[in-house]
Subunit: 346 residues, 2 copies
């Protein structure tokens, strides 16, 4: 009779803590203690329980554990787009660091869509997750207020939140951009075109500002052609911008723009850097082998991800303390597209 029940239980559904208790001949409480490594359980009982667990292939039901307020040992990470190498690398770093701290990572992409972002945050907030790492996709972030009040910590990566108090980790967008444009100027370029999209987004805005200040300081004209939307402009628009402005240098605002610009220049048969020099914000592996190799502003992506996890876990484990705002420096990686000769490469 008992045999039959066991067989059925095994087939029909996962074993429960009750099944384990029955097989081990103890109370459910004791099983719970063993699972959670509580002290004060005799060795012999512990062993019996562990045997039963193995025999039934028992795994605690996380839903039930969560219902009782147990931390899930997972954090959420929300990025705008996983196909962007910048975020893909960030994600990789976050996972690694989280893993070192025995945390799982729930990854999700918002497609730069605030309503998707909202849905995902809701889902994660609903106790599924101990904390959230968010690369916000819109300055319109008041919606977080309600969620944050539930006490789940959150840290903003790449872009600080506008209307919400939270830890944030950013990059020196202004400085990075400025140093790139200054470098172009040092090469004697006079008509420097600033190209990109997503212009309303704060990091991009800062980069544009860096460009503007550099160019103005040098007494040059400002040539900005930046779309506001979150989608990269069509390649035709790019081509016409090039024809219209006839720049002798281009500063692109992120890696996607850089790639597209390079393509357009190639199609139009414009020589780089002979006809126009190029520097892009965001360094990507493939840029060591482009034609020509690209000079780029390198962001400390991995550091950002890793640090973000540490700050978040710190907050998960020790509630208090005031919010931090970290800004990491960028570095200009010199290759050939800016006009530097190949010998000067890193």
């Amino acid at each position: 009779m008992m045999e039959i029940m066991n067989a059925e239980a095994l087939k029909r559904k996962r074993a429960t803590i009750g099944d384990v208790a029955r097989v081990a001949g103890v109370g459910t409480m004791t099983v719970s203690r063993v699972i959670n490594n509580h002290p004060h359980v005799s060795d012999s009982v512990t062993k019996r329980v562990q045997t039963a667990i193995r025999k039934l292939n028992y795994k605690p039901n996380p839903a039930a554990q969560m219902l009782n307020g147990r931390p899930s040992a997972t954090i959420g990470l929300i990025v705008p787009d996983l196909a962007d190498p910048f975020f893909a690398t960030l994600t990789h770093a976050v996972q690694q660091t989280a893993r070192e701290h025995k945390y799982q990572v729930w990854i999700a992409a918002s497609d730069s869509n605030i309503s998707i972002e909202k849905t995902v945050v809701d889902l994660m907030m609903a106790r599924a997750v101990d904390g959230i790492l968010l690369v916000s996709s819109s300055p319109d972030d008041q919606y977080l207020k309600v969620n944050l009040s539930s006490g789940i910590p959150m840290v903003a990566i790449d872009r600080a939140l506008e209307t919400i108090q939270a830890d944030s980790i950013e990059v020196e967008n202004y400085q990075g951009s400025r140093s790139a444009v200054d470098h172009l100027i040092a090469h004697g370029r006079k008509k420097i075109l600033c190209l990109g999209y997503n212009g309303k987004q704060s990091t991009i805005a800062q980069r544009i500002k860096g460009y503007r200040d550099a160019v103005k300081t040098a007494g040059l004209g400002t040539l900005v052609d930046v779309a506001e939307g979150a989608d990269p402009p069509a390649i035709q628009n790019l081509r016409s911008a090039l024809r219209k402005h006839k720049p002798d240098a281009i500063f692109t605002l992120n890696n996607v723009s850089t790639l597209h610009v390079l393509e357009a220049l190639q199609e139009l048969n414009i020589g780089v850097p002979s006809d126009v020099a190029v520097i892009g914000f965001d360094d990507v592996e493939a840029w060591r082998v482009t034609h020509p190799p690209l000079t780029a502003v390198r962001q400390p992506v991995r550091e950002m991800g890793s640090l973000a996890v540490k700050i978040l876990l710190d907050r998960v484990n020790n509630a208090g303390s005031s919010f931090t705002r970290t800004t990491l420096p960028t570095r200009l990686i010199l290759r050939a597209s800016c006009g530097c000769s190949m010998e000067q490469n890193q």
Copy 2:
């Protein structure tokens, strides 16, 4: 008195279904019905409940919902590495298609580590998820047997499972590889080197086989230098392989290898395609702007992702039917690195 309770409830913790019921003056059952869009609820009551929900900012606790066996409307996706453009793009496609079907996607990376993969599968299986999309990182997949018995459907992407019955979607690795090498041969290349890593992995093994057969059929010698581990070999090894074999063409087994080979060739000042021609398995956006633009075997990544979601959701919603095994064709994208002139580009 009631006011005080409400205020406290609001502050201390999220509103529960009971809070909503109290405020709306109905039973919890009715609230549940409204939440789940059950029929048979009068309009007036529905409205009262909705008002209460809004007022309390109530959101159902998913843990509680799951405990009661409610599907979570989320599927899991496990890939080896999100920093690899192939998987990043796959992930993007999966998310999009899932979204169209109102499903959320839990994304995780296994780092090509079977024990991490196991942990993640466990976590997802534990009722957190309605189905799993898995890019397996090891042929050693018997561990899934136990999990699968719990009835959560799973479909294998990119690599079929070895020891387990499941739907799978693959790509014509053999054909793709063969056509690439045949093309190199057609260009008159005689010493074709096959380079890569992760050689034990089934997709890579098939690609190697395609290479071997092509080369053998043409009466040429086989030059294979493939590491077994999941980590790309160091660049020094690559350089010494190049010097040792002195190939006049190289076929690389995935995008990471291709990038590294291109770098090594550049460093050694070997002309492509003049000295050695190159074709890589996996097409990547950046390869339109490399020096020279790369000929590559394009995999239908987005289709794979999208189709996988459809197959999985089909299984989630209609249990039965026998397992399918789909194999999608690849396409050779001709650019300059193989020796074709630029004019022939797509």
